[in-house]
């Protein structure tokens, strides 16, 4: 678990006179479930865009999946997956079409895509849905599929944006089990969320405030340190110190 898949040192990102990321340093390991938290406007989105090769740092060292965030953004994109709860799949395509489309985007071969379609259909027990539109799928299944598509190309890291917001408690837990299973295969799961009890599921969490990382540890140790019963309380204590 000591292989570093994300290495960030003194990352600074400025937009004109505004410093969105102010000297961030952190590391994330292979197979880790890492929660990336912060209030609206704290700078999370900026950092994630850099980590996923969509934007370049102003200064500092950033390495993702072994690739440099200044020069190797295309390789970074090939080695990560991304899922957000609401918009990951094309609603007017079928289940199978979505898988084939994403496989193509990830540059997978036709035979590999075909194999993955078959695997997913049996693993998710999706056979009856193969040719159904995404819009016909219940939310829980849609979400599972979105996740499976995000890791279709076996990336080193998968970024999840509020993965279980709004789903029912049972579906939510099934989804976390899928995340555990994925992490046990060595894929790093990088979660951003407003939903503080989602943060409780992570191995470690970082909390950003005004462009800086102000806390980084396991949920348990942070709760102890801030004398709080939940991550929610930790978060509020950090963001609103009085």
């Amino acid at each position: 678990m000591n292989e570093k898949v994300i290495y960030v040192k003194n990352l600074v990102k400025k937009f004109g006179g505004f410093t969105a990321n102010d000297n961030l340093s952190f590391e994330v390991y292979a197979g880790e479930i890492f929660g990336f938290l912060g209030a609206n406007g704290a700078g999370k989105t900026t950092a994630i865009r850099i980590l996923s090769g969509l934007s370049k740092p102003t200064s500092g060292e950033v390495n993702v999946a072994g690739f440099d965030a200044y020069r190797q953004t295309e390789q970074i994109k090939k080695n990560i997956g991304y899922m957000c709860q609401k918009f990951s799949l094309y609603e007017d395509l079928t289940v199978k079409e979505n898988i084939v489309l994403y496989g193509g985007i990830y540059g997978m071969s036709k035979s590999l895509i075909k194999q993955r379609v078959a695997e997913l259909m049996s693993k998710l027990k999706f056979q009856e849905y193969e040719n159904r539109m995404i819009s016909d799928l219940p939310l829980g299944l849609r979400q599972k599929l979105a996740f499976s598509v995000a890791v279709l190309h076996e990336p080193k890291i998968v970024f999840l944006d509020e993965p279980t917001g709004g789903v029912d408690p049972i579906t939510r837990r099934q989804f976390w089990e899928t995340i555990y299973e994925t992490s046990s295969r060595g894929i790093t799961v990088f979660v951003t969320t407003h939903y503080m009890d989602e943060a409780e599921y992570c191995d470690r969490i970082s909390i950003m405030n005004e462009g800086k990382i102000v806390a980084l540890d396991t949920p348990e140790r942070l709760k102890k340190q801030y004398n709080a019963s939940s991550v929610d309380e930790v978060f509020i204590k950090i963001a609103r110190p009085n």
């Binding site: 917001g165 709004g166 789903v167 049972i170 579906t171 899928t178 555990y180 046990s184 407003h194």
Partner: protein, 327 residues
């Protein structure tokens, strides 16, 4: 005592989907009443019926003793509604939006300033700014101000805290608590289970049905079994091991632990032995108090069972249906 809302047997169908299935409840005056449930549970449909925007197929809905079908005009004068999607005029300024809503209800900002001052004061420095240019938290405060501008007796808030960060959420609930002094009845929906604790009473809602109505405290106490938390550094291995144990009724991940209930409430003595046998040597087992979400899960299981047919993906927490988890 007059109820703020009295509802019996409300059913609403959209094509093949039963959005609301025989919903009955009542809300007392000056109460903060929460509808807690996931997306698709029927919360928004129900709120649209309460606010007279939609008629039910069956059942009866009264707001302050007035019927939502026949007396809708009078009801509308007495409610403030904040829909889930931001629906103020984006190209009007903060102040213009407020004045517009005040005028529609035949009042002025000045007349009810006291009521909203607490909330409005946060955004007043930006009153010339266009509503579309506000941050999420500020939009939410403006929407609440507009919903309150005519001093409604009933405030209806549809998922006001969704997508809002934890600090703003907490502040929002503080504002609602303060509104109670004005004797305003508040109904609010949310998918966040932890927000139930901020309500006087809550209805847990799922698949168009109400699973339970009670105070948050009682709902937790109604959890029917002994609950244990089990922790280990090897979470996934732990889940798989628990699933294979015949004495375990349910095992659900809850943050950094697994919440476990045992068949016939057996004692937990043998559990740690069993886990050691499975190669999990650092397991910590403790008895725990159930939360709202534990109870919600328990009620969902019962509801699924009662419905008889396998609501597809549901119910993996149960041992006997757990064969799908990966290897």
């Amino acid at each position: 005592m007059l109820k703020a809302i009295e509802s019996s047997g409300i059913t609403k169908t959209f094509g093949p989907t039963k959005a609301l299935d025989n919903i009955s409840f009542s809300v007392n005056e000056s109460e903060i009443f929460g509808f807690i449930g996931p997306d698709g549970a029927g919360k928004t449909t129900l709120f649209r019926i309460i606010t007279t925007l939609l008629l039910p197929d069956e059942g009866n809905m009264q707001v302050f003793g007035l019927d939502t079908a026949s007396d809708y005009k009078e009801i509308r004068n007495n409610i403030g509604y904040m829909p889930g999607r931001f629906s103020l005029y984006q190209d009007l300024s903060v102040e213009e939006n407020l004045n517009f809503y005040a005028t529609v209800f035949g009042t002025t900002l000045k007349e009810n300033y006291d009521l909203i001052s607490d909330i409005y004061s946060h955004i007043e420095p930006f009153k010339k700014r266009l509503a579309g240019k506000l941050s999420g938290g500020m939009k939410q405060k403006l929407a609440l101000s507009c919903a309150l501008i005519h001093k409604p007796r009933l405030l209806v808030l549809d998922e006001p805290t969704t997508g809002v960060d934890a600090v703003s959420r907490s502040e929002f609930w503080d504002m609602l608590a303060k509104l109670q002094q004005y004797k305003i009845t508040i109904i609010v929906s949310t998918p966040y289970m932890d927000e139930a604790m901020r309500c006087d009473r809550v209805a847990l809602i799922q698949g168009g049905r109400i699973l339970s109505i009670d105070t948050p405290q009682k709902i937790r106490e109604n959890f029917s079994r002994k609950l244990y938390t089990v922790k280990s550094s090897e979470k996934y291995k732990l889940i798989l091991a628990l699933r294979k144990n015949k004495d375990i009724l349910t095992a659900y991940p809850f943050g950094d632990s697994i919440h476990v209930t045992l068949m016939n409430d057996k004692s937990d003595n043998t559990l740690s032995e069993y886990l050691t046998g499975k190669g999990i040597t650092d397991a910590v087992i403790q008895e725990a108090k159930a939360g709202i979400e534990d109870r919600f899960l328990e009620l969902m299981e019962k509801n699924v069972k009662a419905k008889g047919e396998g609501q597809r993906a549901q119910s993996t927490g149960r041992r006997e249906q757990s064969n799908t988890t990966g290897q």
